[in-house]
Amino acid sequence: MSTPPLERTHGQRLLREMIRIRRFEEACAEHYSAGHIRGFLHLYIGEEAVAVGVMQGLTPADAIVATYREHGHALARGIGADPLMAEMFGKQEGCSRGRGGSMHVFDAATRFYGGNAIVGGGLPLAVGLALSDQLLGRRRVTACFFGDGAVAEGEFHESMNLAALWKLPVLFVCENNLYAMGTRIERALSQTDLPAKARTYGMPTASADGMDVTAVEDAARSAAEQVRAGNGPFFLECRTYRFRAHSMFDAELYRDKAEVEEWKTRDPIALLKARLEQAGLLDARELTAIEDEVRGEIARAVAFADAGTWEPVEHLTQDVYTPAAQEANRG
């Protein structure tokens, strides 16, 4: 695939978005160790190019369905670092009012439908959102992110089938990072050519280098255009790698350090930075400005989260049912 031409403002924006995600998550790791963030924390470090690249092809009217490794998607989609960090801390100023934590980020304003911690669980939901758009005559795309691990779930196959059968506007984005939790793809899947699986359901596919943000952007734009044109679903595989463990509890005994180091030489941030510099589209001063700006934003987000408040325990049973129905539904 040819590398699309870079433009200064856009190139720097892509770089800034990836750096925001990286620094946000580094701060998460730090505050996890400090005990401010609890539960499961799944970092996206190394995979930033996928979220940032894919979002370039979407409009604010489109919908996002993500997984438990969704901080990158959330930030790239436009959920502010402040409410996102407050969510990590479990504070009521969080984007899910602190109810969901790291794995359950929701935001109605940006049509962000989670944050689903069940592997493959978001796929049927995306199919349904797209069905609703089709039925109500809206030209919108639902982008559904999932990992290679989800490909082994029945819901993956059911969802591919239904989306293709009904020609639903879903952009399936498979983040193939080669590991389903701690199990390498060859140990889990009899067929490791993932687009081939989607093609058996009669849907167009593409594979993009998930470490190259512009390659992802290019592939996602063209895929989203096809979906938006009413041609039915599209399967986009982004070949990527996570530099960190599956979660903060993972001792990472299942993969070689050498393999990780090798992939780190293809760090999506370093790659784009080098490309921009070589093309004369980024100088040292601009890079420093971006880094400083992001550092400030993340520091403010941490301060915001830290100063956030705990939801009163009296609110515990709120929003199990919609308020109108809540009173009658305590049983």
Binding site: G98, F106, P124, L125, V127, L162
Partner: protein, 334 residues
């Protein structure tokens, strides 16, 4: 009881009328499920609707419960008002992830940002010799889950009226239709409309014993009550109608008068709905009781295929009569 004009109708036809009315009243409503379209519904509930409303709104799905139920949840999030039919509660286990992990949780996990106004209908229960994988009563399991509303229409009027009420509910509602009730025939008031899905109702008044039941067991309980009445024992029969939330007030009010309770549940005894009701009575109405709580439930076996064993597995009127008699202060005259 109806005072005005009525018409004869089956439970199946009442259900179909309810779906037709919903499709007519609200363009956002559509029906989706296995065999609902061309085939006309596994229990013929949706027969004729495809011709009337077209394949967009009467959608046949593949046999993939998890995804079409999940798609119903997603469509509800997207602004549609889906009615999802799952052929039987047994098959809904393939969709439990979507129902329990997604439909029931999204509102709470999102801090109240998203409601899931989906209605999921499914058949339940034994009585047609369909053997263990088509005959279980698992609605009590789903009634365990906060975030869901579970209703079970036992009467023609409820079959006709509950769907519209359920569709007005912004949260997920599961409607259980007992498969032996589809052929039930009864008089429906000409002006029948939406029915309350918050409260239980007393289907027979009596001062001696409260019989608490729901679904098809209502009719066996009413038959038992008729037998007992011939012996001078008056049962009050409560139809729960809604298994979650439980309307305990109607139950407490009755028990304060009768002081004796039998719970009739086609589900299994262990960890079932009858256990929940009994526990709540023990917690809150202990001093209103003059006898231990009786339970008549299905035998602790997968429902068998042969008629005599199936009959033996599920509660029958005779067993209810025996259970009620055992609650009385002195043996009833023979």
């Amino acid at each position: 009881m109806a005072n005005g004009p009525t018409r004869r109708i089956t439970y199946r036809d009442a259900m179909r009328e309810a779906i037709r009315e919903a499709l007519t009243r609200d363009p956002r409503v559509f029906l989706m499920g296995e065999d609902v379209g061309r085939y006309g519904g596994a229990y013929a509930v949706s027969k004729g609707l495809l011709a009337e409303f077209g394949p967009e709104r009467i959608r046949d799905t593949p046999l993939s419960e998890s995804t079409f139920v999940g798609a119903g949840i997603g469509a509800a999030l997207g602004g549609s008002r889906p009615i999802v039919e799952v052929m039987t509660v047994n098959f809904s286990l393939l969709a439990l992830d979507q129902i329990v992990n997604t439909a029931a949780t999204i509102r709470h996990m999102s801090g109240g940002q998203f409601s899931v106004p989906v209605v999921i209908r499914m058949a339940t229960g034994a009585g047609r010799q369909l053997a263990a994988q088509h005959a279980h009563s698992l609605e009590g399991w789903l009634a365990h889950v906060p975030g869901l509303r579970i209703v079970e229409p036992a009467t023609i009027e409820d079959a006709r009226g509950m769907l519209w009420t359920a569709l007005q509910d912004p949260d997920p509602v599961l409607i259980f239709e007992h498969q032996t009730l589809y052929n039930l025939e009864g008089d429906l008031p000409a002006d029948a409309g939406p029915v309350d899905i918050d409260r239980a109702v007393v289907r027979r008044h009596g001062g001696d014993v409260t019989v608490i039941t729901y679904g098809a067991m209502l009719y066996k309980s009413l038959a038992a009550a008729a037998t007992l009445a011939a012996d001078g024992v008056e049962c009050e029969v409560i139809d729960l109608r809604t298994l979650r939330p439980l309307d305990m007030n109607t139950i407490f009010e009755s028990v304060r008068r009768t002081r004796r309770v039998a719970i009739v549940d086609e589900g299994w005894r262990s960890g079932g709905l009858s256990a929940e009701i009994a526990a709540r009575l023990a917690e809150s109405a202990f001093y209103d009781l003059d006898a231990p709580i009786a339970r008549v439930c299905s035998a602790e076996v997968p429902i068998p295929y042969p008629k005599h064993l199936e009959d033996a597995a599920v509660p029958q009127a005779a067993a209810i009569v025996d259970a009620v008699r055992a609650l009385l202060p002195a043996p009833a005259p023979r």
